[in-house]
């Protein structure tokens, strides 16, 4: 079992109007939770769909659990679990029926009772799919992805559109998958989700992987591990003049300024002094650790959600 769960090399896919994936290499070890992090349109979903066998790549190699789609597609399908970005089921199928039915598609299946317990849908077992809340539908989609006791699970933006509580409960299910020894590949555009769940991750932008590693190592790679934030009441003013006076780069983001720094202890008194002297109408000052968001910003010059 030392082989990789997933190995892809030189993956490319172009659509008529856009190159969605422009040469992606990835390797995911068994038992690992691996994240693809990136803004909308970065090529995460297309990459995932090529790996899942839904989209045929223009070029590149994909090895899923040591198998290739061309020769062992049926075996791969039997051993992977997939949650698509949106899972559409029949409106009037009950949760129990959906799990039973999908179970019959596989050579081996977990019991429906087991799955209901896992995603905490016991009391909704006989409710029609159409009557479930967004979070419940997402949990059902997760249970369907686990119906065949898969070794490798793909989750495409599993928490998009969920409220914070539903998001946490989904995270718990993902952690349980890891505890059960499954390999998980998930996409997300929430950096806090990637930080909370992933052992390793790859940051994608414009169809390419721009950085990869553990969350900690990615942040550590940034030469600037801390960020000082000045918050304003309403939109932040143009920081150009202030930045020149301070002699440090200042980023403006909505209602705050960000000043990345290696040494917040040294910067802070100088910064406050300059702000006071320049009459900057800031409200509060925060010092925080750099996050994956800053890594993305540093690599691309853009914010994740732009």
């Amino acid at each position: 079992m030392s082989e990789s769960a997933l190995r892809i090399h030189g993956l490319r896919k172009a659509f008529p109007k856009v190159v969605a994936v422009a040469g992606v290499d990835l390797e995911v070890a068994r038992g690992e939770v691996f994240g693809l992090l990136g803004p909308n349109g970065a090529g995460k979903t297309t990459t995932l769909e090529m790996i899942e066998g839904l989209t045929v790549p223009d070029a590149g190699e994909i090895e899923v659990l040591g198998r290739t789609w061309a020769r062992e597609g049926k075996e791969i399908r039997a051993r992977i679990g997939v949650q698509l970005q949106s899972t559409s089921l029949f409106n009037k199928i009950t949760v129990r029926e959906a799990l039973d039915l999908y179970g019959t598609y596989y050579p081996k299946a977990r019991t429906t009772a087991d799955l209901l317990e896992l995603v905490q849908l016991n009391d909704k077992a006989d409710a029609y799919h159409v009557t479930l809340s967004g979070g419940q539908q997402q949990r059902l989609a997760l249970a369907l992805a686990l119906v065949n006791d898969p070794e490798l699970v793909f989750l495409d933006e599993p928490t998009t559109g969920l409220d914070p509580q539903a998001r946490r409960s989904l995270w718990d299910v993902v952690r349980r998958m890891k505890a059960e020894g499954r390999t998980v590949l998930l996409t997300t555009h929430y950096m806090e989700e990637a930080e909370a769940l992933c052992d390793r991750l790859a940051i994608m932008d414009h169809g390419q992987v721009i950085a990869a590693g553990t969350p900690a190592s990615l942040i550590a790679q940034l030469a600037i591990p801390s960020v000082v934030e000045l918050t304003f009441n309403g939109d932040a003013p143009d920081p150009a003049a202030f930045a020149a006076r301070l002699g440090e780069p200042v980023e403006r983001r909505a209602d705050l300024w960000e000043v990345p720094t290696r040494d917040p202890k040294a910067l802070l008194p100088r910064l406050l002094e300059t702000a006071e002297a320049a009459g900057v109408p800031y409200q509060q000052v925060h010092v925080r650790r750099a996050t994956l968001e800053d890594v993305f910003l540093h690599q691309t010059g853009r914010s994740l959600r732009d």
Binding site: T55, K74, L84, K92, E97, L101, Y105, Y106
Partner: protein
């Protein structure tokens, strides 16, 4: 393998039975149509034509003779005062009216309702000739005797017997276009096919389960219609049941393939609905579902014979109403078969899961 097809089939039925609204309409619509039109046109010759008779100030013998003669030629006469008649006319409800004018009468026809007005005027004139002969004491003109028979000569049938095969055909068309074509477009649009595509279930099993379920629906509909037709109007299959099954099977194959083929040409349900209606309404109106196209232009009659529904209905009616064998309808069967094959090939070429 069979077990998997069976499970899909059973699940499709379960889901179908839960959609009470759709189910009610698929089964109730043809039955309501059959009962409604069958009862309205029960007399056989269709409903009587109505003529408004504008009452003269004082009724003379001539008026009485005309009224009597109009009744004899099977016109439904509605006597109204001039004011009432004018009100009805101005509301557009009157197709034809007879007004006293000078020494005689005038017939006024509604230009929008010439389909009823034309024949009504003819009958009124016929009645007038009869009345004049009587008033003059000359010998009554003799009419040509009329007999009503079904074309196959098996049994004098009524309009309901003509309509029933038409509704069977219409059912197949609407199941093909909407229950098969529309449903598949919406599955593709909503990504239901994609969720299936990541499982090891062969997709043809899913489709086969679906097609078999639609087949049993159309079979059940046919049985319901046949039973209602038999109980309400005494309509029975006059031909061989084997021939009936052959024609119905060919028709089902044709219209389901048709739906599958069309579904390959639309990305969204909205586009599909537009395309499907483009086919549905002309086929329904021009193929002789409710009435024959006898009076339509020759070129139109020739053209619809090459569309699938019209030859299907002629063959079905020949078997069902007239007890004919299939031998005489080779051309019709060939046309339906060609459409089935053509649509199937297009469906296979164009069908997409994504």
């Amino acid at each position: 393998m069979l077990m998997m097809i069976w499970r899909q089939f059973v699940m499709e039925w379960k889901l179908y039975l839960r959609d009470k609204g759709a189910m009610f309409w698929t089964f109730a619509f043809p039955v309501v149509m059959l009962l409604g039109f069958g009862i309205i046109f029960r007399g056989g010759g269709g409903p009587k034509l109505t003529v408004v008779y504008v009452q003269p100030a004082a009724q003379g013998t001539r008026d009485a003779a005309l009224l009597k003669a109009m009744d004899e030629v099977q016109l439904k006469v509605l006597p109204l005062t001039p004011a009432e008649a004018e009100a009805r006319w101005s509301h557009g409800e009157t197709a034809a009216e007879v007004l006293p004018e000078g020494e005689g009468y005038r017939i006024r026809l509604n230009s929008y309702l010439m389909a009823q007005g034309g024949p009504t005027a003819g009958l009124v004139n016929q009645a007038w000739l009869l009345a004049q002969a009587r008033l003059n004491g000359s010998p009554e003109p003799r009419r040509i005797p009329v007999s009503v028979e079904s074309p196959g000569g098996k049994k004098a049938s009524n309009y309901a017997a003509f309509l029933l095969p038409g509704l069977l055909g219409l059912n197949l068309l609407s199941i093909g276009l909407f229950s098969v074509g529309m449903v598949n477009v919406s599955y593709r649009e909503k990504g239901k096919f994609r969720r299936l595509a990541v499982t090891p279930l062969p997709k043809w099993i899913f489709l086969l389960g679906q097609v078999l379920q639609r087949l049993t629906i159309s079979l059940a509909q046919a049985v319901v219609l046949l039973v209602v037709g038999w109980l309400a109007f005494g309509i029975r299959n006059q031909g061989s049941y084997l021939d009936l099954v052959v024609v119905m099977t060919l028709g089902t194959a044709c219209f389901m393939s048709f739906g599958f083929a069309l579904s390959g040409f639309a990305e969204t349900s909205e586009t599909y609905a537009a395309i499907a209606n483009l086919f549905f309404f002309p086929l329904m109106l021009l193929s002789g579902v409710y009435f024959t196209l006898d009076s339509a232009p020759h070129w139109l009659q020739r053209s619809v014979a090459f569309l699938p529904l019209s030859p299907f209905l002629s063959t079905l009616r020949a078997v069902f109403n007239d007890g004919a064998g299939l031998a005489g309808h080779g051309m019709g069967l060939l046309v339906v078969g060609a459409w089935a094959l053509g649509a199937f090939l297009i469906a296979v070429r164009r069908f997409r899961w994504n």
